[in-house]
C-alpha cells in the first residue's frame, strides 16, 4: 500500500510517500523567514504553504520514483495547528484524493507524532507509554492499541517546547530556542542553579510556567543589566533549566511505568530531539526493563511521514474521511479521554 502524507500545520510544509511502512520520500520545507519576527506569522505561513505544496508533491513523487497513479491513499493533517496553514494541506489533499480517485484520511497531528515511533526500524509493542513533547503540547499517554489512546496527564499551562523557546529568548539565544538551549546546556553545569520542579494535583500533569518565571526572576535578580551575562552563565542557566524540565518529565514517566502495565516507552514531538531528555528516558527504560523507541531527530519535528503512517493505521481499521473533513485549531477537550 502506497500512502501520500501532507503536513502543513505550522511552519513546515512536508510531503511524504510511504509504502508498506517504508519511507520512499519525506521532504520538509521549513519556513526560515519567520526567524526575523521572533515567531511564526500565520498569514505568511499560509502563503508559503500554498507556494510549496504542489512543487513539493511532485518532488516527493520523483524522489520516491513512483507515478502519482500508484498512490493508494491520500492523507493530510487536519489539526491541531494554525487554521490558515492547515487549510492548505487539507484542501490540497482532499482535491488530490478526488482527482486520483483514491480514499482520503484527515489525520490528527498529535496522533501523527504519537505514531512516529513506528517509523523506526525497531517496532514498539503495545501498550506504549508515550510522552508527547512539542511546541504546543505536553501529554503523557497510554497507547493501548491503534485506536485506544488514554491521556494520563498533560500540561496545565505552557508546553515543554514553549518553555524552551521562552527561556532561550530570555537569555538571548533566538528562535526556535530548543536546539540552542540544548547546545548551551552541553557546556553548562545542570546543578549550578536550583530551579523548582512543580508538584501538581493531577498525578501525571505538568507545569512549566512556574519554572519559566523562576528563570526570569533569577535573571532579573542576578543580571539587572542583561548584556552582562557571560556565555558561561548562559550555559549554566540553560543547563539548570533543562535539568528541571528533564526532572519534571521523567518524574511522571517513572510514576506511570510503575503504575501501568506497559511494554514500550516512547517520547515524540519536537522536544524529543533533546539529547538530555532522550538519555534520561533511555536510562529509565533500561532500569525498568522496558523497550524504548524514540524517533530519529528527522521524525521528531513536524514531518509528513508520520501523517502518512498514521493514515495507514486508520485505514487498516476501516476509518476513512469524507471530502467535507474540516480543519481544527486545537485538540478537542475530550481528546484521548477514555469513555
Amino acid at each position: 500500500m502506497t500512502i501520500l502524507g501532507l503536513e502543513s500545520s505550522c511552519d513546515e510544509t512536508s510531503v511524504s510517500i510511504i509504502r508498506d511502512g517504508e519511507i520512499l520520500s519525506n521532504l520538509i520545507s521549513s519556513q526560515h523567514f519567520h526567524l526575523k519576527y521572533g515567531g511564526v506569522v500565520p498569514e505568511l505561513s499560509s502563503r508559503a504553504h500554498l507556494q510549496m505544496i504542489s512543487p513539493l508533491f511532485k518532488k516527493a513523487l520523483e524522489e520516491a520514483n513512483i507515478e502519482k497513479e500508484e498512490i493508494d491513499l491520500v492523507s493530510a493533517t487536519a489539526g491541531p495547528g494554525l487554521i490558515g496553514a492547515l487549510l492548505v494541506g487539507l484542501n490540497f489533499g482532499k482535491a488530490l484524493s478526488y482527482s486520483l480517485n483514491k480514499p482520503f484520511i484527515a489525520v490528527n497531528h498529535i496522533e501523527g507524532h504519537i505514531f512516529s515511533c513506528f517509523l523506526m526500524e525497531e517496532k514498539p509493542e503495545y501498550p506504549i507509554l508515550s510522552l508527547v513533547v512539542s511546541g504546543g503540547h505536553t501529554l503523557l499517554l497510554l497507547v493501548k492499541d491503534d485506536l485506544n489512546i488514554v491521556k494520563l496527564g498533560s500540561t496545565i499551562d505552557d508546553a515543554a517546547g514553549e518553555a524552551f523557546d521562552k527561556v532561550a529568548k530570555m537569555i538571548g539565544l533566538g528562535y526556535p530556542g530548543g536546539p540552542k538551549v540544548q547546545e548551551y546546556s552541553e557546556k553548562g553545569n545542570p546543578k549550578a542553579i536550583k530551579f523548582p520542579v512543580a508538584n501538581l494535583k493531577g498525578e501525571y500533569d505538568f507545569s512549566f510556567s512556574g519554572l519559566k518565571t523562576s528563570v526570569l526572576r533569577y535573571i532579573q535578580k542576578e543580571y539587572p543589566i542583561l548584556e552582562k551575562i557571560t556565555e558561561d552563565e548562559k550555559s549554566n542557566i540553560a543547563a539548570s533549566f533543562q535539568d528541571a524540565v528533564v526532572k519534571a518529565l521523567s518524574n511522571n514517566v517513572k510514576k506511570a511505568i510503575l503504575n501501568y502495565e506497559i511494554k514500550t516507552l516512547s517520547v515524540v514531538g519536537g522536544v524529543a530531539a533533546n539529547k538530555a531528555i532522550r538519555n534520561k528516558l533511555i536510562q529509565l527504560a533500561k532500569k525498568f526493563n522496558k523497550k524504548i523507541v524514540i524517533p530519529d531527530i528527522e521524525f521528531c519535528g513536524d514531518n509528513a511521514a508520520m501523517i502518512a503512517y498514521r493514515a495507514g493505521k486508520l485505514f487498516e481499521n476501516n476509518i476513512i474521511s469524507d471530502l467535507n473533513a474540516v480543519a481544527f485549531p486545537a485538540l478537542p477537550k475530550n481528546a484521548f479521554i477514555a469513555n
Binding site: Y37, V41, E43, L44, S46, R47, L50, Q51, I53, S54, P55, F57, K58, K68, I83, G84, L87, V88, L90, N91, F92, G93, K94, A95, L96, Y98, S99, L100, D322, L323, N324, A325, V326, A327
Partner: protein
C-alpha cells in the same frame, strides 16, 4: 472547430462559495453556498456533486478556472489550493480569473448600456479593493483597474451617477453583490483564458494585491 472541453470553475473570494461547470456555450451547472466559513468544508463535496449531476468526469475537464482575487486571503487560498490539488492529479491547466473583471462581466450583461459602475469591497479597517467599469453592449469596459485604496480616497473616485457594487456600502440600500458566481468565472475563462494556457500552475498565487505587513509588537 475543436471540440468544446468542459470548464470547471471555482469562486471563493468572499462569503459566496460557488462551483460551476460550463459544458458548452449554452449549458451550465452551478452549486452555491452562501455562508461564512464553510468553504473548506463544502467546496470539495460541491465539486464532487456538481460533476456527478453534470455526468462529467474530472478527466474530461479541459481547464480549471479559479477566481484569483482580490478578496478574503483564506477564501482565495481554499479555492486555489483545491484547484491545484485537482489539477495536479489529472494534469489540467488552471486559469486564474481576475475576480472583479468576472463580476464586471456578470453585471454588464444586465446593466443598461453605458452605465459606469464601481466594485468596492472592504479589505481591512482602512482600505478597500476598488475597480471601475462601464457597461457597453452587455460587455464590460475597464475604467480603473482593480487596486487597493484608502477608504478616504473613495469619495474622490466616485462620480455622481456611478452605480456601486460590493460590500463597501455607504448606504444600506445599495447593491451588495460582492463576488461573481462561478458561472461567470467559467465564462470569463472561456472568453479571455486563451492568454493563460501556458502558465505554470505551480507558480499561481492569489492576487493578494499587497504584501503582508507584519506589525511588530
Amino acid at each position: 472547430m475543436e471540440q468544446f472541453k468542459p470548464i470547471l470553475s471555482i469562486e471563493t473570494s468572499d462569503e459566496l462559495c460557488s462551483a460551476a461547470i460550463m459544458l458548452s456555450e449554452e449549458s451550465f451547472a452551478e452549486i452555491n453556498f452562501q455562508k461564512k466559513f464553510v468553504h473548506s468544508e463544502k467546496l470539495m463535496p460541491m465539486i464532487s456533486d456538481l460533476l456527478k449531476i453534470a455526468n462529467t468526469k474530472l478527466e474530461e475537464v479541459g481547464v480549471l478556472a479559479v477566481s484569483i482575487g482580490p478578496g478574503s486571503f483564506t477564501g482565495l487560498r481554499i479555492g486555489l489550493t483545491v484547484a491545484k490539488g485537482l489539477a495536479v492529479g489529472r494534469n489540467i491547466q488552471i486559469i486564474p480569473v481576475p475576480t472583479f473583471d468576472a463580476l464586471a462581466m456578470q453585471l454588464s450583461a444586465v446593466l443598461p448600456n453605458n452605465t459606469n459602475f464601481i466594485i468596492a469591497n472592504n479589505a481591512n479597517i482602512n482600505e478597500i479593493y476598488f475597480a471601475k467599469y462601464k457597461s457597453n453592449n452587455k460587455k464590460y469596459e475597464l475604467i480603473t483597474e482593480t487596486c487597493l485604496i484608502d477608504k478616504s480616497k473613495y469619495a474622490l473616485l466616485h462620480q455622481k451617477d456611478d452605480l456601486l457594487f460590493g460590500n463597501f456600502t455607504i448606504e444600506k440600500n445599495d447593491f451588495k453583490t460582492s463576488s461573481p458566481n462561478a458561472i461567470s468565472i467559467a465564462k470569463w475563462a472561456y472568453i479571455f483564458g486563451k492568454d493563460f494556457v501556458n502558465l505554470d500552475n505551480d507558480l499561481l498565487e492569489p492576487n493578494y494585491l499587497k504584501n503582508f505587513v507584519v506589525h511588530k509588537k
